[in-house]
Symmetry: C5
Subunit: 339 residues, 5 copies
Amino acid sequence: MTVTYSNEVANATFFSFHRLLLRWRGSIYKLLYREFAVFALLYTVLSLVYRLALSESQRRLFEKIAMYCDKYAEQIPVTFVLGFYVTLVVNRWWNQFVNLPWPDRLMFLISSCVQGNDEHGRLLRRTLVRYVNLTSLLILRSVSTAVCKRFPTIDHVVEAGFMTPEERKVFESIRSPHLKYWIPFVWFSNLATQARQDGRIQDSIDLQNILNEMNMFRTWCATLFGYDWVGIPLVYTQVVTLAVYTFFFACLIGRQFLDPAQRYQGHDLDLYVPVFTLLQFLFFSGWLKVAEQLINPFGEDDEDFEANWIIDRNLQVSLLAVDEMHMDLPHLTKDIYWN
Amino acid sequence: MTVTYSNEVANATFFSFHRLLLRWRGSIYKLLYREFAVFALLYTVLSLVYRLALSESQRRLFEKIAMYCDKYAEQIPVTFVLGFYVTLVVNRWWNQFVNLPWPDRLMFLISSCVQGNDEHGRLLRRTLVRYVNLTSLLILRSVSTAVCKRFPTIDHVVEAGFMTPEERKVFESIRSPHLKYWIPFVWFSNLATQARQDGRIQDSIDLQNILNEMNMFRTWCATLFGYDWVGIPLVYTQVVTLAVYTFFFACLIGRQFLDPAQRYQGHDLDLYVPVFTLLQFLFFSGWLKVAEQLINPFGEDDEDFEANWIIDRNLQVSLLAVDEMHMDLPHLTKDIYWN
Amino acid sequence: MTVTYSNEVANATFFSFHRLLLRWRGSIYKLLYREFAVFALLYTVLSLVYRLALSESQRRLFEKIAMYCDKYAEQIPVTFVLGFYVTLVVNRWWNQFVNLPWPDRLMFLISSCVQGNDEHGRLLRRTLVRYVNLTSLLILRSVSTAVCKRFPTIDHVVEAGFMTPEERKVFESIRSPHLKYWIPFVWFSNLATQARQDGRIQDSIDLQNILNEMNMFRTWCATLFGYDWVGIPLVYTQVVTLAVYTFFFACLIGRQFLDPAQRYQGHDLDLYVPVFTLLQFLFFSGWLKVAEQLINPFGEDDEDFEANWIIDRNLQVSLLAVDEMHMDLPHLTKDIYWN
Amino acid sequence: MTVTYSNEVANATFFSFHRLLLRWRGSIYKLLYREFAVFALLYTVLSLVYRLALSESQRRLFEKIAMYCDKYAEQIPVTFVLGFYVTLVVNRWWNQFVNLPWPDRLMFLISSCVQGNDEHGRLLRRTLVRYVNLTSLLILRSVSTAVCKRFPTIDHVVEAGFMTPEERKVFESIRSPHLKYWIPFVWFSNLATQARQDGRIQDSIDLQNILNEMNMFRTWCATLFGYDWVGIPLVYTQVVTLAVYTFFFACLIGRQFLDPAQRYQGHDLDLYVPVFTLLQFLFFSGWLKVAEQLINPFGEDDEDFEANWIIDRNLQVSLLAVDEMHMDLPHLTKDIYWN
Amino acid sequence: MTVTYSNEVANATFFSFHRLLLRWRGSIYKLLYREFAVFALLYTVLSLVYRLALSESQRRLFEKIAMYCDKYAEQIPVTFVLGFYVTLVVNRWWNQFVNLPWPDRLMFLISSCVQGNDEHGRLLRRTLVRYVNLTSLLILRSVSTAVCKRFPTIDHVVEAGFMTPEERKVFESIRSPHLKYWIPFVWFSNLATQARQDGRIQDSIDLQNILNEMNMFRTWCATLFGYDWVGIPLVYTQVVTLAVYTFFFACLIGRQFLDPAQRYQGHDLDLYVPVFTLLQFLFFSGWLKVAEQLINPFGEDDEDFEANWIIDRNLQVSLLAVDEMHMDLPHLTKDIYWN
């Protein structure tokens, strides 16, 4: 599930964000310690080679290369590219969150407008919300790797109770080379129409309102699917990755401490540990990690949306709302401000 | 509550923003004086150590380190990172403000479309708006620390009159491992449907309009909840904090006034007080404070939304509108432009 | 009223924007001439002191301070901070314009769907639109300083014909510690419902459409109110102002022409008038003025929205549309393309 | 009309954008050749004066001034200011395009829901769409210079068949100091209501849907009007223009090739033609031209919207759709996939 | 079709984006290898000329020119211009994706609300969805080069079964100088109205909901058309292209390795292969390629939308939904959570 830290930053107190620096789960350290180790190792190896293995003239050459790399490292516009790219990724990520399909709006309508406490009434309401949950399951299966692992085949969908065996037969008998997640909604709309004709839904206004909500739900599903299907163009991601990796490659060589005795400008100090370069590494690859985490929010990262939990919650809550709670109202009593 | 200063800047006059610099409440000074003091203190300590405690050769080393730090301080892209990050935070903050749940739209409809001045009619209207207020209370309890302090348990909700004891029993008898803030809306929609069947709501159009408004209200609540639940990814916040803190750390050393006698470039002046570095500190940590204040607008900062006030206002106003003011119209008289 | 210049830039001609540089009303010159004079004066005083009043050694010190200031002036990221901040202010300003409450949509519906040319019908329609205008007046009074000056008390509202004396009594008899601008809309919705029950509004569809439009109008009002109530956080504005003022302060000293005889780098020319610094002043404080003008668009700046004119226009037009023009149709005749 | 080049860039091929560099219509060359010529001329004159007319000491002074200008030219943040400003202008321009009033949605409804093939039915439908077209014409007259030239007075509107002479009398008899473009919509809504009462529109649902579409159309018109009325604040445009012009002024002097014999840094080469400065001129004033073209998209630039064409198209198409095509359906036949 | 890689980046793992660097389809390498080869070739030729063909004094001149070019190459703000421009292009591209016309919402309504399993009912439903598909085909023909190749004339549209020969006659008999893609929607709305009068559509609510969905579909189509018709102003694209090309031109000369023996600053190393310049080339032209690919997403690039596939899918699915599946519901059975 996503890493929630809003409580810790409710108030802006003395250096209030510093506490966030000490967390592990979902943190920059957890995400980056391996990359950081590799970078530090490579830097150390290069440093040792320069200091111990090279001959005098090789060291002079290395120093020239280092200064050449350093000069170009500064010219790579990592900051801007990351700024524009991460903004794009964050917007897409949030839009996906906003379009997660919740059946609540529909279940209120079904619970109140599809009438009858008898068995047929219950069956009707339960089937309608089941179709809604089935649709979101079918979409989430193709969007989320976690859901796909849990429901690898239609068999699993049937077993989990989202589809009856008979529905499955009908579902599979429909010949279409295309994705079939729209089928339960044809059933939904047809079933709702039948319910109106049987008088279970009182009139067309109620029916149309339910159908409109259904279409809104479908649009959420289709939007999620669209975000998965059409990602940020590969070239853009490659360009950004290339820029960041090139920068780090240039830093590996260019940020070596050169022999102060050579009196190169800006190289009159040998600290052994390149503090600021390591911080820059953390900083820039942390920024890139933001993009890596959010570019597909349906994976299994710490920050990803827990699609399986959503599926379970929706089924449980929506069946409860349309069946047990149908017309089961608390007795009306006067509130304490009555007069 | 938020700090309102729009009246003071209604007109763009001579240096009109300078007046804002002299305020205390919600100001950069109130928010930053502690951090500023710590920064100034550390700077002074370092300065004294350099000037008084170090040996001649240690001072030479310190000077090299200082120039090294200064060089890298300039390379840290604090401005851009803060620019992109604060823009993101400000957008989220404003969207949360826009999605605060106000019952006004619903209460107009309930007041006009749920009929009957008898006790049952009053009970019906009051109960409907109470459910609406209850829902927003349940959401705000999980979103806002201030509301959570005031209503730590369901007992407090019942005592405050948002829920009757009987409703509470029903509420708690519903078994669900998930959050239950949707329950009052099932009651709402069922109660409204019953009211139509009893003829209290005249026809389906009225009912569906009320249910649509209810769903809009639910969406506001869900959006608020979503913003609290899924924050800006922790890594992003850490990256920004890290960048700013690294910058200040580099400044502490790198912006020391070095011995002019050494004739280092740009160090031919010893002012003792680093005016511009202190202003930069105010400036950049002020910008970060904007983010700290707004990242969770339901805390108890000067700028935060006063959720408790909203809850009280909504209950008072909505009960007034649907009960006392129901069909209580001023006598129609001709206006002064009649002919 | 706002300064309209779109006609002058309809076509992109030879240096077409240069004409805009020669305007006075709403221009950068009108807004900035005082600040500009102060800045130029201070610069001149400093310059004279340096050239005439200081001793030789004081001049050397001043020169060092000047170069120190100049170095830091360049490091202040005024451009970016202004860029991000002004973008935010401009977006908010435009959203406020978009949410100005116009009664046109409502008045079309009221004129066509509330029937009866007799006195009661006229009274009904006039009262309904009057409530609409009253609501927007109540909101604009708390938002706009200009409107507040014109209608300082409820007395003025009654006198101007937006409220009848009797309505005022009812309005004031409603006890609520909160703002009461929602009251006319409770009256509106109740009155419209009564009109349906009397058969003046034909059926529920018509009624609900009118109520939906009313709610849309209310949302505009509430949005305007929200923008006034919750401004850009004070800290943000302070940070920006601080950055700009610090920059100008640093420029005052750092951009002095130093004695060319001292051969400081970049100081081999003494022009007396710092052309580019003055242009930079115009430029950056002009940009900040954009923010100062737009941060509260309901003041009395040249660019501000003329709320009083809006109030008058709305009342006049909406009464005309629902009363005199009700069902007063031109005779249907064939148009010139008939066959 | 706008310059369409999307076909030429349908596929991303080898240097695919280079083809765009060779177009004339709507191109940077067509828009800028005059400014470019002026700039080049001034540069040449200055260059000749420096090389031929000045005395030795004057040349030394000129060289100092040139280097002074060059230093400050680099400090002017033209890129950012243009970036933020052009983004704002482009967004406004696109929003105006999106809000161009097309009657298609309304004409489908009128064609299908206003019944009767007799003369009165035809008259009704034609008059309704004529009112719609009349409204958009009245708005476009005040927004677009091109439309204003074509319809300078109401006489021209009547002659073009958008208004009958009798309607004109009624229109002018309505006394209001304010713009009157809302009048045809009062007629529209009243006429539609009458049609429902006469049974031409079957029931209220149909009527309200038509009125809602009418209100949507009105909102488009009002939005267009708003964009024309309230432009980007003059100060912003002036600030940007000032920045760009200052930059070019500084370049004129600062980018002169100085005598290599003087061995000024970066001035060891005399190319006579300042290739990169000329390209920078093209580049920055091209960017500014984007803003100049789009700031008022209703002029007569190559890229502007052809409002007169829109008016003609809308009238022709909408009369066709509601009259000749009313209920004129092709015979229903089985499609080729029937079984 | 678009290049989907979201599965590969579902989790943020060790250097997770590096895998993306190794793909070919849709990659930066596939898109840029030709440009890259040309650039490398030109660089090599220039390098050889400098090293082998020039005389001593020509080499000195070349070196000066190279340093001149290098200095200006750094001043060209490629990063920002590309950042702002690509952001604009990406937004437009995504909006086009969002507005692709899918008939699903309409087909659910038609399938459930247009009644009758007899031949006339089937004919009615099939014809209605066929009109919807026909409209989107007519739009996509003028928007997409791929669709235009497949359906170059109306004949092909008739052959493919989107239009019957009789409809074609009516279509062509309607005289209008303007595009005619709105005609099938007049038929649609008229046919739907007739169906209501025949009792096939039960009441006005159903009809109006269908017409509203139809209007929404039309808006998608019109939006797509608008994006194709009114592109990003040519000048903007030219400005960006010019900036990038100028930059590369300056790099070709300015980034040559100059003779280290001349001891020019920053030229004490001769690497023969300009690694960082080549990476910069990849990087900046990759970024420009993002724009080239997305500026018209209806071409035949790897990333473009496959409009032909969309047309086929929509026809097949929508006919299936409204005909075979009409009221063909799976038997209602109790789900596994029944009690």
